[in-house]
């Protein structure tokens, strides 16, 4: 997980996304235990209530589950669920901002396609 926050979005959402990234990259594999609320809050120097709020987002979505008295674990199938979710967000998060910038630079759709192909080749 990254140790830097950006200012644009609430911290609890960034905590949730950081954990999602860690699950997608297998740093937190399915069925493995993730760090505790205290570990997250101490490491990131954030209020424990904020860390809890972020993790609860993932619990509500079934990506992480709590075992009473033990800790929190990555759900089985979480990677697939996250991939689907991220694909849906892909347009809003990447394509729209890219097209906005492309318009400012007067790049045509074909120019962008060429650039994307170059990106995949590299």
């Amino acid at each position: 997980m990254k140790l830097e926050f950006e200012e644009e979005r609430p911290i609890f959402i960034q905590i949730a996304e950081g954990i999602e990234d860690a699950i997608l990259s297998q740093a937190f594999p399915e069925e493995s235990q993730i760090p505790s609320i205290t570990e997250f809050s101490v490491t990131y120097q954030i209020n424990p209530a904020t860390a809890l709020k972020g993790i609860n987002l993932l619990v509500e979505e079934g990506i992480v589950y709590k075992k009473r008295g033990v800790g929190m674990f990555v759900s089985k199938g979480a990677v697939q669920v996250l991939r689907e979710k991220r694909k849906e967000q892909f347009y809003d998060r990447y394509i729209r901002t890219m097209v906005d910038e492309a318009k400012r630079l007067q790049l045509s759709p074909q120019d962008i396609v060429n650039l994307i192909e170059r990106g995949f080749e590299g």
Partner: protein, 283 residues
């Protein structure tokens, strides 16, 4: 009711109104940030809560009981203040011993452990410590008293970046292990922004904001770009302030932003807590 309730508290020093009908409630087991410019009334408020100075009007209730001249109630609160009340010649380790006698739940072992993490020389006299180590000494005590309410007045005064980070880390660890009500009065805003759950902003003795950090942060935004376009956008909106650079302008606004209402060519970004604070407390 549990917590510290400050009801209609006013305090004047001569012609200066330091606190003007202040109403706040510090709820159990939350971390508060008390933010204000120099002379805004932060220390006066903390001193009134701990009965070091008396309010002209209003009252402070701690867990439902008035705090004035009430030792039993006052022992529930620890104030780490800028002033030092220790006798000259007292050594750090003697002060730890003394605290253990005064505060029944004082954890001397924890204070000593904290002192060694900060490399505080405990055999030295308190008055011989540097500004930074005076703060660290007071932090060590405040973190070990284990009172239900701990008030920090400028806790990181004179601390270097490494020690400030260590302080926030220990504070969160301690709070996670055994939650208490913590109030941090500071003007190093960016550093505490993520640590505090609720923000109280005081300006000229009045409370101008009392809300969760998240709510407050969601309220401010910056619109920047071509000055004429920015002006057209800000007309009729709640403007906090603006900066100009040639034909460029950045406007600081309050409210929630609807991206579709922002004309193309203007950039929208969030206001961080420090900028928001500066804009709100400018005269």
């Amino acid at each position: 009711m549990s917590g510290i309730e400050i009801k209609q508290v006013s305090k004047r020093f001569g012609d200066v109104t330091a606190l003007d009908h202040v109403n706040i409630c510090f709820q159990k087991n939350k971390i508060y940030g008390l933010l204000g410019r120099n002379g805004a009334g932060k220390s006066t408020l903390l001193n009134v809560i701990t009965n070091r100075i008396f309010a002209d009007e209003g009252e402070v209730l701690v867990d439902g009981e008035p705090s004035v001249e009430n030792d039993r109630v006052l022992r529930k609160i620890y104030l780490m203040s800028e002033q030092s009340y220790y006798p000259p010649g007292m050594k750090v380790k003697e002060a730890f011993q003394w605290s253990a006698e005064f505060y029944p739940d004082f954890d001397k072992g924890y204070a000593e452990k904290t002192a060694s993490l900060f490399q505080l020389p405990t055999k030295k006299k308190i008055h011989d410590l540097s500004t930074g180590y005076q703060s660290i000494f007071k932090i060590c005590i405040a973190m070990a008293v284990n009172t239900p309410y701990v008030l920090f007045d400028e806790p990181v005064l004179g601390l270097d970046a490494n020690h400030r980070q260590l302080f926030y880390k220990l504070l969160i660890e301690k709070y996670s292990d055994s939650p208490s009500t913590i109030v941090i009065s500071t003007h190093l805003i960016e550093e505490v922004a993520n640590v505090i759950e609720q923000i109280i902003i005081i300006k000229n003795g009045r409370i101008i904001r009392d809300e969760t950090t998240e709510e407050l942060l969601s309220k401010g935004y910056t619109v920047s770009g071509n000055a004429a376009l920015v002006d057209r956008y800000t007309a009729g909106r709640k403007l906090l302030g603006e900066d100009t650079l040639g034909g460029l302008k950045s406007a600081y606004l309050l409210g929630s932003v609807k991206k579709e209402e922002v004309p193309a060519g203007l950039e929208v970004s969030k206001l961080d807590l420090q900028k928001l604070f500066i804009q709100m407390t400018n005269d």
